[in-house]
Symmetry: C2
Subunit: 207 residues, 2 copies
DNA sequence: TCGCCTGTTAACAGAGTTGTTAAACAAATC
DNA sequence: GATTTGTTTAACAACTCTGTTAACAGGCGA
């Protein structure tokens, strides 16, 4: 072996992840990934055979990450409303670290029937299984009369809507990679986080 | 002239609109648009010179439509909360007819610095001007003490989040073009519309 | 009728993209 | 020190995509 056995493979993966997420499958060129990884473009085909294989590897990892995280964020032992708040905030913080992820996954799902199938058949059922646990806790609280009667599915969609859309909007007004230290950006994020928690809690509290 | 003068241009535009919105700029092939329009692909270049010119024509039209509509939806003379409800519902109904539009615009904004500039400099200011009218009505209501103090910008983001994300989710579970008559899809849409109005109203009402 | 204009087509040029391969090369093993 | 194995490179083949062009068809005015 010459220099770095797995390093080449790793740097291709890292470069591919970044570029694919930013530009999507169709707009990404193999040469560009190779250049970013600092290797000859033949390396991509040596390690991953085709652009599609490389892409799918990243897509599947990221799609799973997105859903698993959503589930894990609600997995704690606190009182219901505290758990909810921490869940929303943790999910939001995950998006701060991965601001482009949701749009990336949605874009590629919508574009390819195969990927849609993959999500619906491979990722979704696993997530659903985990979500049921949280749903039970939620329903228990509902029976106790602590919350307004809302469908759990609607609750999840509401949280997802508010949290995800904050980062879609953020990408219009800010450069989510370079503006991490920008106080305006941080102010925007904090305001949104607080707003989202309030809206959701408000929608569940009995008037 | 041989066959149909302006019909060719129109059918190219119609085909391009559909395919660009579904696949985005990078994934769309000129040949595909030509085939869908039923013309030789040289026609695209005859009428529009380049793929980019054709795309920009559609993008600019759609981006303006998206924002103008958002503004127009809130433009009525009813009491505040009724106006708000009708505004949210009208915006939602617009998305029922254009379910892929938001994701299309966001995707292309994010991908191209030029398009982002176009949105921020050409489209946004016009929308903001119009939005100020609605903001004044909102602030008046706020001063009367009829609503909780919320930043108008946050309110807009909240409505946008909930309405837009409904159609992002819809595209995962349904085929938004073919499922128009599907009762499951209609049930989903009605539930979301009702949910979104409730959440927003709830977030503004004083407890 | 002739020439001109618009719209259309097929063929093609040029650039860029994915994917292949043969050869060089460096370290590990024998 | 020769062999093997894994890694890298340059060159290239095949293909696709965008954009051009030359030829052509029919309508229309001179």
């Amino acid at each position: 072996m010459e220099v770095n056995q797995t390093n080449t493979e790793q740097s291709i993966l890292a470069a591919a992840e970044q570029i694919f997420i930013q530009k999507g499958f169709a707009a990404t060129r193999c040469m560009e990934i190779a250049a970013a990884a600092g290797v000859n473009h033949a390396m991509l085909h040596y390690y991953f055979r085709t652009k599609e294989v490389l892409f799918n590897q990243i897509f599947e990892k990221k799609a799973a990450q997105l859903l698993n995280f959503f589930v894990k964020a609600f997995d704690s032992d606190l009182p219901f409303f505290e758990k909810l708040q921490i869940g929303i905030e943790t999910h939001f913080d995950f998006l701060v670290e991965n601001p482009r992820l949701p749009l990336f996954v949605f874009r590629e799902i919508i574009q390819s029937q195969e990927r849609k199938q993959f999500i619906l058949q491979q990722v979704f059922p696993i997530g659903m299984e985990l979500l049921k646990q949280i749903e039970r806790a939620f329903n228990k609280e509902e029976k106790k009369g602590g919350v307004r009667p809302v469908k759990f599915f609607d609750l999840l969609l509401n949280i997802g809507s508010l949290n995800v859309f904050a980062f879609v909007a953020a990408q219009i007004f800010f450069d989510v990679e370079k503006d991490r230290e920008n106080p305006e950006y941080q102010k925007f994020l904090n305001a949104r986080k607080k707003n989202n928690v309030e809206i959701i809690i408000n929608s569940l509290k009995i008037q």
